[in-house]
């Protein structure tokens, strides 16, 4: 008789210590196979087949995040050409919701991981700093497609936000001081006190697809 395929006990460990069922991994695996058209790896082009994603203004950055080696393995850098299911799960794990039974240390680690993911999205040249230009790029992308918006307006929005970031991170700057860019530590400072965990997660519904017959 055919039996469930694809659930690796190893994959569950990527999500530990949270309760992610093997069923949810099954679902993700099926989704992976759908996107990869039954191949073992996914390339950037495979994300083109998702209609819902087309409308997202930061689509490019999201897809890029899947191939960003900084998100896949902690110490490496650069871009991967293709990712396998394990990599796919690794990226999805950045979006797992928090569970009630997490302690302080786990929560903190969790939060840092999510913020690091976000930081990498902004820091497109991988130099560990979000510069004014990089932030401008993000704003322009978010506002892309609006013909009424001039480039200047997008720039001024970006500049305003960067100034605010600078004031949080560095405090008062002298007239000759140049703000190089937001480092990860500064980034963390900006988010202190703001609850990002509930904004940055995707929660699975409880699924029971088989009737039990005893």
């Amino acid at each position: 008789l055919p039996c469930a395929q694809g659930a690796h006990p190893h994959h569950l460990s990527l999500f530990s210590p949270l309760a992610v069922t093997s069923e949810q991994i099954e679902h993700l695996h099926r989704r992976f196979k759908q996107l990869s058209r039954d191949q073992l790896t996914i390339r950037k082009e495979n994300f083109d087949s998702i209609p819902d994603l087309e409308f997202n203004p930061i689509r490019g950055k999201i897809v890029h995040a899947f191939f960003d080696k900084r998100n896949l393995r902690q110490e490496s850098d650069g871009l991967a050409d293709e990712i396998n299911f394990e990599d796919f799960l690794t990226i999805m794990s950045y979006f797992r919701p928090i569970e009630m039974n997490m302690d302080e240390e786990q929560l903190d680690h969790f939060r840092k991981k999510k913020l690091k993911f976000l930081f990498h999205m902004y820091d497109s040249d991988h130099d560990g700093k979000i510069t004014l230009q990089e932030y401008r790029n993000v704003v322009e992308e978010l506002l892309s497609g609006n013909p009424h918006l001039e480039k200047e307006s997008a720039r001024s929005i970006a500049d305003g936000a960067m100034m605010e970031a600078a004031s949080i991170c560095v405090g008062q700057m002298g007239p000759d001081q140049v703000y190089e860019g937001i480092t990860f530590e500064d980034f963390l400072k900006m988010w202190q006190g703001i609850d990002i965990e509930t904004k940055m997660h995707v929660r699975f519904l409880n699924m029971e697809t088989i009737a039990h017959c005893y």
């Binding site: 209609p51 997202n56 930061i58 976000l118 307006s153 929005i157 900006m190 904004k199 697809t209």
Partner: protein, 365 residues
């Protein structure tokens, strides 16, 4: 669906995050939306069969098939024997009888000169053969609101799930079919039936010319003595949990529209034809080895285009009525997305909406 989606509208989400004008946090919302789309998107979902809550002993409908218990396996095994060795041959014979009777019957009626007798006989032949074919699928159909049945000179539109939709409807009435000329057995049936009854079959080259198609259909509808046309405006098979975009072509012809909602009960057999996964023969084999095809058909009150309403709005109005009646969700998406990508113009339109919203909350004067 498999993930919990937050239904907060975009504006509210962004307003909540705002302290000052534009923030680093705006990226969260789109980031999450993007991930949700990657895990599960509304559109691709509709092109795979509906998942059942409890198993109906057909392994094809249970994607997560595990071995559970010996007793269940034995029951399933008996089910397989009944379906393949008993039901399938019976149904096959019935279907063969039905198709042969259709071809022979309509050819014979086609020999008669045009008269009311011919029309009457043609109806008898079509109805009888249709009923045989429905029995061949072990179809149990409940028709509701028969007083709204489509009249002559009108256009009947329905949601599309499978090629047998047409048989389901012709079981209860006579329609003029619209479609492309095929080869093979289908072509033989088409050529035979058009002799008895004015179905509208188009050559492949003619289908490309929209004006020609509309013109021919208009001529047919204008003749009030002709049978109502049957059209499926979605253009492709959807999995019967939702209704997708109705192509406006059918609604530009004019005349009275008679909407019909068809909802299959997936408990006894999955009627959805996933044409990218199965060809027509394996699809028919699956249908004939299911337990039964059970469905509900609702005839909705006729609709006409209102003053100042364009074809697209009219199409959406009809679509909503059908979705409401059948208990299906409504999606604005085009069924053609099964095979093609989203059109750039549509995409740009949506992006404009996003940025308009962001700018309104931003510092632009």
């Amino acid at each position: 669906g498999i993930i919990e989606r937050h239904e907060t509208p975009m504006e509210k989400e962004i307003a909540r995050l705002h302290r000052a004008d534009f923030e680093f946090s705006d990226i969260f919302y789109f980031c999450r939306k993007g991930f949700e789309a990657i895990v599960e998107d509304e559109v691709t979902q509709r092109f795979s069969s509906e998942e059942l809550v409890s198993w109906n002993l057909l392994t094809r409908t249970n994607v997560n098939f595990h071995y559970i218990s010996l007793r269940l396996t034995v029951v399933w095994g008996i089910g397989v024997i009944v379906r393949y060795c008993f039901l399938l041959p019976l149904r096959f014979i019935l279907a063969a009888i039905g198709i042969t009777a259709m071809i022979v019957g309509t050819t014979m009626v086609g020999q008669l000169p045009n008269s009311s007798m011919k029309n009457y006989l043609s109806e008898v032949v079509h109805l009888t053969c249709s009923r045989i074919l429905v029995r061949a699928l072990s179809g149990t159909i409940h028709y509701h609101n028969k007083e709204n049945k489509p009249q002559k000179g009108g256009i009947c539109v329905a949601n599309h799930t499978s090629p047998i939709d047409a048989i389901i409807l012709t079981n209860d009435g006579c329609y003029a079919m619209v479609g492309q000329v095929h080869g093979g057995l289908m072509g033989v049936i088409q050529r035979a039936t058009v002799k008895a009854c004015p179905h509208v079959w188009f050559e492949r080259s003619e289908m490309k010319d929209r004006h020609l198609v509309t013109k021919r259909l208009r001529e047919h509808v204008a003749d009030k003595s002709k049978l109502p046309i049957l059209i499926f405006p979605e253009g492709t098979c959807i999995n019967n949990t939702s209704v997708m975009m109705f192509k406006k072509g059918s609604f530009e012809i004019g005349g009275t529209i008679y909407p019909v909602a068809i909802k299959y009960d997936p408990q006894f057999g999955d009627a959805f034809w996933n044409s990218s996964k199965y060809n027509i023969v394996s699809y028919l084999l699956r249908i004939m080895t299911s337990w039964a095809i059970v469905c509900n058909v609702w005839y909705l009150p006729p609709m006409v285009r209102k003053e100042g309403e364009d074809a697209v709005q009219f199409a959406n109005r009809v679509k909503s009525a059908i979705a409401r009646q059948g208990g299906l969700t409504e999606l604005p998406w085009d069924g053609g997305l099964k095979r093609a990508k989203v059109k750039d113009t549509f995409k740009e339109e949506q992006q404009k909406n996003y940025s308009k919203m962001l700018v309104r909350n931003g510092s632009i004067g």
